[in-house]
Symmetry: C4
């Protein structure tokens, strides 16, 4: 199994996900400011999801740098991650259409949470097939505090969505900011 083709396929899928998301930004039937107003939350959601998928692409890229061989387990863990990422356009569109309704805001968090879980599983698969705790990736992520904190924050946001939708949204933005700063851990270990 060829790592290049796995990267190319993942890049393709992520490029399509990040781009078809814009299709949720439907051309309005009106032609004035009022007809744009309902699109504002969809647009803000689009920005946030665009950043999230950018982060995943970036980190995925870094992580695959440490991979030297690909087996069936890694392949399916990778497809599992792409599956959850592929649901981001759907939940972004739903949340954008219902910005102050609990369920769509919570579901957005569920998909982010599952994507993060899928990323963690993929990370675990790569570590276990590349020398376990001595592997490059294991040393790079170490205790993976950022990953664990994110998972916790997603859970908090999912619950909070049912009390205060804006609170949940603030947490989603916060976690994105947390990751926007490119992860120096892998680069450090590679050096």
């Amino acid at each position: 199994m060829n790592k290049t083709r796995l990267e190319a396929f993942s890049d393709g899928v992520i490029a399509i996900i990040i781009t078809i998301m814009v299709l949720e930004l439907k051309v309005p039937s009106g032609n004035d400011w009022n007809s744009l107003r309902p699109l504002l939350p969809v647009f803000l959601g689009y920005i946030l999801s665009f950043i999230y998928i950018g982060i995943y692409w970036n980190n995925h890229h870094h992580m695959l740098h440490t991979v030297s061989r690909v087996n069936g387990k890694i392949l399916w863990a990778n497809l599992h991650l792409l599956f959850w990422l592929s649901l981001i356009p759907f939940v972004t569109g739903w949340m954008g259409q219902n910005p102050v309704v609990p369920l769509p805001n919570a579901l957005y968090g569920v998909v982010l949470f599952m994507s993060a879980i899928a990323y963690t599983i993929l990370q675990g698969c790569i570590i276990s097939t590349h020398g376990g705790q001595d592997s490059l990736l294991a040393r790079a992520v170490a205790k993976d505090r950022k990953g664990k904190v994110s998972l916790l924050l997603y859970l908090v946001a999912i619950v909070m969505a049912f009390c205060n939708e804006w609170g949940a949204d603030v947490i989603y933005v916060l976690v994105a900011v947390l990751w926007l700063i490119p992860d120096p851990r892998i680069e450090r270990v590679l050096d």
Copy 2:
């Protein structure tokens, strides 16, 4: 004719198929649990088709490992396979909207059956241009029992869809599970 470009093109088409399928998961107009409920069968169908396309990508990848030269016959056999795979989003969407109706469930099986036939034809083309029964691929797939059993099961499911839709769906899941386990035959022969 360049094998790399054939792989890249196939990867591109498969990446798009697996991703646009999510567009069948239409953002509901409501915003509560009830508005999500009719999406459940579409979502389950999406998972199943995602796995099927993942399997095809994986096996296609393995099969192309054994290819050293590409001619017009292989190219068109490959496009023929991509054609049937490209219909999977359509039948997934139709079955998802009509989970307990015979025809959509049967048509899903027809597209899976034709995809499998197209895969077998592509396999045959590769074998016949790479040394026939002595070729790497011919030795790898040998009697291709898994392929033949799948074809048979699809036929059973298509007929069963008209008596018992769930029975057909169970068979579709079963065949996917059968293939989820990565095919060790080609890897074995390559070693």
Copy 3:
């Protein structure tokens, strides 16, 4: 300017065109044979257009084999070709919805005609920047009789669409068959 990136970009656009075309095959609201019937002409049109785009991908591929340097002229001639190909999903969808109406059948021919013109222009650009009549490509296509006959047949079909839609469709199928046989000219000269 890098030939590899030109190929990769063209492959990407062509892969997307061939795949989004299936989105014109809308999931019907009914669930029986009657609801599938109006989709039949759309489906037949999809098959024909899929084959046409497959032919263009194949021939484009062969033609780029003879290219050693890319300049602005070639780049824009290539984008011009991709532009006309990108309209194929639209005219396929319109013709499929109106199989026995003159205008949609004629417009399908217009887009095929313009794609063929764009291909001829691209061919001319490559020849003129690679040594003119002595270039590999010029010797391969020679008098380009197949190309000229196709252009003529498209024109006949466009006119015929206004008298007899099926006559036009038969010509579209005929031209596709003419090209389905992979073009041995470039391969011959390369040898």
Copy 4:
């Protein structure tokens, strides 16, 4: 961070943007010339945006030629550019549906303006990480008069859209023509 993968990802996203834009060209419900007429402005807008994205792809390509190392800053500046480009299908569709209404014409200009700003930022990031004013790219773009004039013209067009929509459109076409001529600056310096 690998430049090849950055290029491949950008190519993928740009290929998808340029292609899904055609989805705004909705298949009309009628089947005669009258049903095509409202599509004419959408079609003209499609041509213009196709050319703009072609220009960006071309220039992006040239610019990345001068890049030898990619860091987080360049990666995010690149994603920022892709973000604004991804909005072009939306504003093209809206302007096409409302060709003589000020706001959609102005918004088209805003997205072009922001794309140009994003391109300038990316250019600045590449220059600052590749030796500043001594870098290849800095010498190639020099005072970047064409870039600055374009920004100014976009601003003029945005204001003009509220007085005379056609005036704004003429400026958009003008700027495209200005850039259609491939940028010889980088090629000159590379030589």
